[in-house]
Each structure stands twice: as C-alpha cells, then as structure tokens.
Symmetry: D2
Subunit: 351 residues, 4 copies
C-alpha cells in the first residue's frame, strides 16, 4: 500500500520540486496539492512542464480533510505558519514534515529573537525532531510525529563539520568558525523582488545579510553546539550565485593538533559509514556544485594548509533537493520505515 501524502504550499519552488520527486517515488501517492493562491487552477496551467503528467488542480482544502486522507503532510509554507497548522494535523494522527524554520530552534528565547516571534508552542517545538538523517539516528526520526526539516545552509554546514567537532579536532573555543556560504537563487523562493529580476541577478554576485544576521545562524550554532557539547559560535555570510540551484559552503577551521589529512578523511569515512548521500570527495584542485545538482548528495572536500594548520572544507548540495525537498523525502522514507534512498537516487545532471 502506498504512503498517502499531501503538500501544503505546493506551488512554490520547494513545493513544485516535491511534486517532481514524489511523482516518481515508487511508494507514494499524492492526495492533495494545496495552494491558497492557486486554488482551483490546473497544476499544468501554472506549470506547463507538467502537461500530460498531472491532471490535478491546486486546491485549498480543510486541514481536517487533508489529515484524513494523508499519512504524512509536507508543509512548504512561509515561516510562521506552521504553528497553527501542525497541531490540527497531529490531532488526526497525521505526521508532519515541516520545511519552514518554525520547528527548528529549540531555545524559545533564541527563536523569538531571531524570528521576531511573539508566541511559541513550546511543547510542539520540543517534540519536533531535527530531520538531518546523517546526524540523527534512524530510530529517532522514524518515531517522530513532527520533523523540522533543516535549512539549506545548515544542512551543508553541519554535515561538513560534524566529524571534526565530534572528534574535537578544531578550535571552537576562542574564535567563531568562519562559514562563507554561496547559494543559487531558488533559495529565495518564487516570490518576486527586485533582486530576483533576471536583469539584476545575472552577471551579478552579492553578499547579503552580512555581519552575522542571517536566521540560519542560530540553527547552525544549536546543532554544532549539541555535537560539541559546548557553545559553538559561527561567523556566517551568505552570498547569491547567479545560478538557479546549488550551494557551496566554504569553512575555515583552525586544527587543534598536527593531524594528517588522511587521518581526518578516515574519521569522515567512519562517521558517515552507511550514509549513502554523503560523498567524501578526493582532494582535487576543484570543488563544484555541478557535481551534486539534480541529486540528494552532499559532497565534502577537505584541504589542509600546512603553512597555517588550517583546514578548508568545501561542502556542496543542491539547495532544492538535499537542502529542501529531497531531504524532506529522505525523512518521509525514514518515517515510513523505507530505505532512506527510495525515490532519491537521481544522478546529478552535470550538463
């Protein structure tokens, strides 16, 4: 029997990527494509690439009805909306994968401050499992009712750093970790603004929310601190690449001792054993987003500068897949007791 899923917020970029991946998933059937703004419109009219593939309409349906006809619901709504939606779905024994940031930050004060939120549902926050399956055990995710699907920058960053922090190999005490992140423009969503106008974005490259103000900072710090069992601070700058998809994060770490790069790589292999979406890449002279685009992979490259004893780590993901829709489906697979790779074995597109 197939898993019945619904997508709330199905007409945004994350939504439409969920549709693309779920339609090819062998164990899934989609019950509802929920989009308030496109209610009643044929999906193939809004997205002509789906002509002859899908005959459904976008709908706006009561949460109760959605819950009755869904085992799992994907929430791809703007931040701040999940708090009202999730309890209604849980009541009807529906499980939820929330792609917004609403369930990610466990410290209420931190959440309120970074997200300018007045009200928080602490119980819900507490129950939600941070759905990074390479870090959290299968069983923990499998038994959750609510998954807080990680942000794109946090996914690429945490996966790049976890083994180092777990083994206490880098200096995190006296200085922030420097994280210089670059994302394709789809990360900013389908909503129109001047920065996303083709003529402004092409031939351009920008840093934004500079100086430690991006909302993914507390999320990254929370997870790294948990792994380190001490407070970790980061200095994080996001940038926009004139490309639709992809994310490359460059991380600079001061090594605590004179460990050889090969030994570090071994620890990474060990840490990520049986994690099919992690690729510890050879130390070649180039690390590119092209190698992951179209796939659920996270590619990690490690470089050791003997002059400075710094480690430079490059981490690459497809922001719409491992950074959003793909990871959500990976979580869905685990929730459903499936192999985590089911329906996610697309080969990177390359050209």
């Amino acid at each position: 029997m197939k898993i019945r899923v619904s997508i709330i917020g199905a007409s945004g970029y994350t939504g439409v990527e969920l549709i693309r991946l779920l339609l090819k998933h062998p164990k899934v059937q989609i019950s509802y494509f929920i989009s308030k703004s496109n209610d009643g419109n044929e999906i193939a009219k809004i997205f002509p690439h789906l002509t002859q593939i899908i005959n459904n309409k976008f709908e706006d349906v009561d949460l109760e009805i959605i819950a009755e006809n869904s085992d799992i619901v994907f929430l791809a709504l703007p931040h701040g909306n999940s708090i009202e939606v999730i309890p209604k779905l849980l009541e009807k024994h529906c499980r939820v994968i929330d792609l917004s940031a609403d369930m990610r930050i466990k410290n209420v004060d931190t959440y309120k401050k970074w997200y300018q939120a007045d009200y928080v549902n602490e119980e819900l926050l507490c129950d939600a499992v941070y759905g990074l399956p390479e870090i959290y055990p299968y069983e923990v995710i499998n038994s959750a009712s609510v998954i807080a699907n990680p942000g794109c920058y946090p996914t690429a960053t945490i996966l790049a750093l976890a083994p180092l922090i777990k083994h206490n190999l880098i200096n995190i005490s006296h200085q922030p970790l420097i994280i210089d992140a670059k994302s394709g423009i789809s990360g900013a969503g389908k909503t129109l603004n001047q920065n996303n106008h083709f003529c402004e974005a092409i031939n351009n490259f920008s840093a934004y929310q500079i100086g430690g103000i991006h909302r993914h900072i507390p999320e990254i710090e929370q997870e790294l601190s948990k792994l380190a069992m001490q407070t970790v601070q980061i200095q994080f700058t996001p940038h926009l690449i004139p490309t639709p998809r992809g994310m490359l994060v460059t991380i600079y770490c001061s090594l605590n001792s004179d460990i050889h790069l090969n030994k570090i790589k071994e620890l990474y292999y060990e840490y990520y054993v049986n994690k099919p979406f992690i690729r510890i890449m050879p130390t070649t002279d180039r690390a590119s987003i092209k190698s992951v685009i179209g796939s659920n992979f996270c590619d990690i490259y490690l470089y050791h500068d003997l002059r400075t004893n710094y480690l430079t780590i490059i981490s690459c993901i497809d922001n719409l897949i491992k950074g959003a829709a793909g990871q959500a489906i990976q979580n869905m697979n685990i929730l459903s007791g499936l192999n985590e790779t089911t329906g996610l074995q697309n080969i990177p597109t390359y050209i």
Copy 2:
C-alpha cells in the same frame, strides 16, 4: 602631444580591454598591437566588435622598434615572459607596465617557490614599483620605470584591509586572516580549457586552488606585511562565479578592541581621502559586483557583528578594469603626470 603606448599581448582578454579603454583615452595614441599568435590578422577580424572602430592589424614587431615608438609599453603576457622583455624596453628608455605577476614578489625565494622559477632578475624586481595607487604615493609611481601592476585578488583584498592594518585594529598575530574570494571567469583568460567551456561553467560555482596554494597569496601577504610592519598570514580560497566579469572578496577580521563601526568608517574615509576610485559604501543589506562592473571603482562595505566582535568586509572590483587594464591605465596616467582618473571615468553599466 599624446602619450605613445604599445600593448604586448594585445589579443587576450586583458589586452582587448586595454584596447577598448585606451582608444577612448584623450591623451593616448596606440603605436602597436602586438600579438604573436595573431600576427598579420586584422584586429577587427579577430574581434568583430571593433569593426569600423579600428583598422590596424595585430603585429609581431621587434622590441627595439616597439620601444622607439612608445613612451610606455603594457605587457599583458603570461607569467614568466616579462623578465626577458622588460630590460630590452628599458634600454631604449621606454617605461613598462607589467600586468603579469613577474615583477610583484620582492622576495626572491618566495617568488621562486610560488612561481616555480629558476632564474630571477633581482635588480629589476627591486626597481619595479607595485602599482597600487591608493597605497603607494603618486610620486613613487610617477618616478618608476617599471610598474608591477597588481593582481586582481590582491587589489580587492589589500584595498579592503589597508586602513585596518595601518591602524592596528585587527588581530593578525595569532591567526591567519580569512579571505574568501570570488571572481568572474574572464580572470582565467581567453585560453580554452574544459572548466571554461560554457556548458561546464554555467549553472556552476567552484572553489579552486583550495587550501592555501593560489599564487596571489604571497603577493597579498607581502603587501599586508609591509603595511603592518610585521608578518601577516592569510587563509585564501578563490572561487569562480558563472559571470564574465567582477570580483567580490569577503574578509573576516577579529577586532582588537571595542571600536564602533562608525569610527572604523571614519578611518577608511580618512585613509582614502582624495582616492577617487575608492567608494566606502553604506552598510546596506546587500553588496554586489554589479555596482562596479564596467568601472575602475573598488567598493568597500564594512559590517560589525557585535556578538563575535568580528568585522566582515566586502570588497568589489571589476577584475578586468580595477583588477587589470583599468589599474594599468591609472598607473600610466600617474607615470605621465596626468590626473589618475583620465580616461577611466566610465560609469558602471548596471544592466
């Protein structure tokens, strides 16, 4: 009377940008367009955009003849060629602006190591002035015979850091400065290789020469150390943006004390007073290469993170102009006693 100039290596991207800018320069006439590989070809045949603008041919002419008919020669050759060319030009009282790296590194051992060079002309190296006119006084450049035109990454980086280092505001003693640099693809030149194939470069973003091995590192360290009057180390990673032009460098500095951002900005204004190509930009939520493309500007943005007491600096240039041909012409202006902005007041293109 006009300044007679020649361009050796006129058919590469830097060469053709020199042509474009020099043809509009009110005080210049071009004597020779030297290109061995295109010797005898009409320039407008190789570069159809110059049809009806220029009737000359690319030539391969004896250095003696070039020198006799030129006051200043621009060398836009691959690294390693200048050492033989420059002395012959100097002999004939011609002055030289060398756009290659050959004259930039003053320490012979450093040069030999980073550039795999066997032989070095120490006297020449010693005479060559590092042509960064916002750092070196007009008189010093004006009286030089040989200008080592700075690299693109060094230009953006040194201009971003000079005031901080001069005023001893940042920690450079116990950790390398983290410099995360992103460049448009023209920086790699016109030579074909798989990474520059359109289908590989579009929709891509790469880090390359990762882990402290890029040749601009010793150049940056040399100039920063000179400003600091102590050894400065950097951790530098270059990246390629899928865009033809532009460069954005993100720099992370640990502040030594509790100085206010406005005070820092004041020191920048002061340091760069009467430097028409430096723009200390307002601390807005976005810093973009688009604002400088087509111009000789270097835009500097400063952000202070009070949580970490780190300063994040963004520095933007057009790699082909302020990072190469424009700066070379700025140096030519100074060599010739002209206002440094002559012929360089193009407004950024924006769209």
Copy 3:
C-alpha cells in the same frame, strides 16, 4: 552652453540607461530626474552603482517647472501616458523625445486597434517625427518638436530591410516578410513578473505573442510600407534570450531577380553612406549580439542562398542603446544641431 534636459520616468531601465549615457555627454546637463514612484529618494540609494557619481534625488515636479528648465525632455513612461504630458511641455516651448509607442503609429484606426486606445490626439500624432535618423533626413528630425523614438524591434528590422525595399529587390507582394526576432530581457523593463524571475528566465528561451499579435507589427509595417510605397505585411515572432541586453533579428526575403550578393552589399553601403552607426558586416559564419552590446551600432549581415534565391538578413542592436536610450540621444543631438554621434561613441564591451 549646455543643452538642458530632463528625464521623465528616470528610474526604469531605459531611464537609468539615459542617465548613464547623458552623464558622459559633453554637451548636456540634466535638470530633473523625474520618477513618481521614487520621489524624494536619492538616486544612488536606488541605484548603488551611481554612488559618488550623482548626488541628485528622484523627484516628482510639475510639468511646467520641468519645461521651464529643460530644452528637451525625454519621456520614458509606459505606453498611454505621453498624450497628456506632451502638449503641456510643448506649450512651454520644450521639445520632446517620446520613448513610448504613443506617437509612432500615424494611422488612428491602426493605433486604436493595436493599442486598445479610446482617444487619440491626431494633431500631435501628425506632428511627431519618427526618429530613425538613418532613414529620415537630418533636417526633418532637426526641425521637429516631438520625436517618436522608434521601438527596438522596428529599429533593427527597418534598418535591415530599407535598402532592399527602396530598391525593390524582394518579393513583398504575395507573401508576408518573415521576421524572427530575439531580444534580451531588459526589453520587458524593470517591472517584476514571473517570466522575469531569474530562476524562470535563466536556462530558458521563449517565443511570446506568437502568431502576429505583437504591437511592434503595425509600426514596422507602417515604415516599410512608406519605403515601399505599397502595403507591406510581415509575419513577426518575438523571442526572449536569457541575456540582459541585445537583440538579433533574422529576416527571410525572397529575391525578385538573380542579383549577386556583392551588388546587394554595394547598395547597402550606398544607402547607409555617412551613417556612422550602421555597420554592413562581412559575410562570416557567425553573427552575434556581443559585437554591438554597449554601443549604438546596428550591425547588418547579408547571406544569399543560391539554392532557394532567398536572402537571409541578420540585424543586431543593443536594445537599450540603439533600441532605446542611445537612439533617443542620437535624436537629441540632431534636434540640437550637434553631430549625431556626440556622446554615443562607446565601443562595444565584448566581454
């Protein structure tokens, strides 16, 4: 004494291109930068690339005041607005260059039908001179009060066909001329819509307003019919190139007789003698927009297929310059008795 000009609609893409070009024009000073939507904002705040270049604000000023302080006013407003603005400016002896389509169509019924217009000012329409300076004599433009600045597609198309039609070389009687046009995305302006979202426009190429419904059709037919002294019909399809600027038009003509290509080229040279912005290009194996971008050139390429006796013509312009702002300034030069190339001799950017 400088020509005093104002720009109404200064914050759109055409407006900001007018600003860029006019700021470098040796005979112009700009009185007002009019933008209702940005009234009161510093120009450099909206367009950071103009920082340190321009200290003015966008304003919303009475037409009377504008007219008093301007010799010539550029109207870069959406279609349908000029009809009210122009008479008030003319009253104050100000001359007008209208970049909208409002003054281009001379036949009232045609205009009403294609532009869904209720009301037309016939007298004004009749007075307005179609400002295509390679077709209309200097004296005619010079003595006009109102210039209807041609559309981008019409500019590239009419210039490509005029000599052929003038010499009656092609079949225009029994079949429409096939005109397949491709434009950069800036042609659609700065207004946000889903098709201009970076993620939709990149990696894409679209035909739009297919089947003979684009509003530039009656404009092209009007001017070609005038040249032919008989009715000319066209079959016109516009397309969008994923590039900010540039336009390439491919035109297919059935030749009336067995004329040699060289003879045709001669007629083009003759027709466009002393027209500095027209380049009749060599018949090479490639015709590219890159050769004109950044300049006011119109490049024309001619190819004769002996198998079919068809002529294929390629015409390239920069849609923001020769297709809009540059041509407007060319018209301003002529209105002011200047050489038409003044301030318009930018060399194509190439990279």
Copy 4:
C-alpha cells in the same frame, strides 16, 4: 534478462547523457564505456558527478569483444567514423544505434556533397532505419539492424511539420519553408573552441551557418519530402542560445486554405495518438524550452495569424534527450520490444 549495451564515444556530452539515462533504465546493463581519449581513466575522475555511482573505467576495447558482450551498441562518435565501425558490429550480430549523421542521408550524392565524403557504403545506408519513432512505425524500427538516430534540429522540425505535410495543408510548392532554429550550446559538443568559451557565449546570441549551409538541411528535406511525396525545400537558420540545453524551432507556413486552428489541432492529436512524447500544447502566449528540459518530450505549439493566413509553429525539445540520447534509448526500447517510454519518463526539471 537485461539488455547488454555498450557506448562507443562515452565521454562526450551525448555519451555522458546516455550513461546518466541508461544507469537508471530498469532493463539495461552497460558492458563497456568506450572512450579512446580517456582510455584507462576512471569515469568518476573525469566526471566527478558520477562518484560513488559508477566504479568503471573508460576503455578502448576491440570491436569484436564489444560486440560479443553487447546486444546493442550506441555510437556517439564524430561524423565519418561509423562507416568503419558498424559493419564489424553487425557481423557479430550486434545491433547499432548510430547517433552521428553518417546513416541518415539516403541519397548518396546529397550525402557526399553536404558531408564532403569521398566514400559511402550504400548497402549500409540503405539498411539503416531513420529512427524517429513518432513517424516510422514500431515494427520498422523494431526489425532494424542499424538505426540512424535523427539529428536534433531535424527531430524538432519534422515532428512539428509532419501532420501538416501529411494532410497537404501548407504551401510547399512555390517557396521554401522558413525554419528558424535555436539551440542550447551543448549541441556543439564538449570540444573546446572560442565560441564555446564561457566569456564569449554568455550574454551572447548568435546565428551561425547562415544562408542555407547547415548539414541538417538535407536531412530535414529528405524526411519532409518523403512525407509530402514531393520535393520540399527549406530555408533554415540555426542560432545559439546562451543556455546549456534546449532547442526551440520557429516555423512559418502559408496555409493552403481557410482551415480553422482547432481543426488543425485535431489533426495533430490524431496524427500523434499514442505517441507519449508528443505534447500538443495549449495556444498560450508563451512557448518555452524550460517545459521540456530534462525530459524526452517534444512540445508543439500552433498559432494561426488570420491577417496573413500563416501558421506559426513552435517546437521544443531537450537537444540532449529527445534530440540525442533520449531518442536513442527510445529506439533501443523499440529494438528490444519494450514499451518505448521505458526509462524515459523523467519529468522536466523546470528550475
């Protein structure tokens, strides 16, 4: 039991797309990845995106051995190589899908003239079936030994025109059909040349091989003439879009009578009934390559201009899939008695 296939020329763009699609094909196993130039190299070293997906090496193996271990061989070699390779494969009862042009042109003189070929294997040419499965019956392809896999431009063009020509609806007697074609840059392959350099191709749009000289012309004319049972001539201009993939062809036809667009569409639906990769699209105001990229679809849009009684047809394919590797696999499916859609049901990527 799986179909054993080999790819000769596996390291070009078509080859690597074949690899990507065949690795996911449920009924295929790949015996050899043949690449002379990369013989002995690990595939994942040349194509890092295949890391952890494929452990094989590129090899250069005797044709005999390939044939023994393959049921079907894909030839993705440059034009002119198949003539020697195919007979050796056929000898060993291996069937061949040739992605080059070598087997497409049935008229020997035409082939020799357009391909500058001295020698032709007429028997082989005669046996080879033109593998356009929407035009040629399943049984014809199924029983072939050699498939001439159609060119990309011919695929998009012939599919767009077949129903019209079959029903004799358009004028093909007195004028050539005008076909204005635009292709993504991967069509030119992986080989480096100046036109494919990122800095030359981005921000550019070019026409090439203008005036009726592109080698796909005789291929298109051959197939259209066969359908028309009379000689059809075309006037064809190819263009390059600054995008890696995708192809859009705009075709202009003079209708023979006053037929209504809906009637024409009905004939298309009928002609392409049970052809799952053809989508007759609604007559919306936009036709885009984005809707097919990543899929094996051919989207056809029809527009009727009542003013001129011309039909404008837009046909879109992904040049690497329906225009090359996908169509080859569609042919492989038919050769093997499978459903033609097996392994080819990828949904267009959209973003």
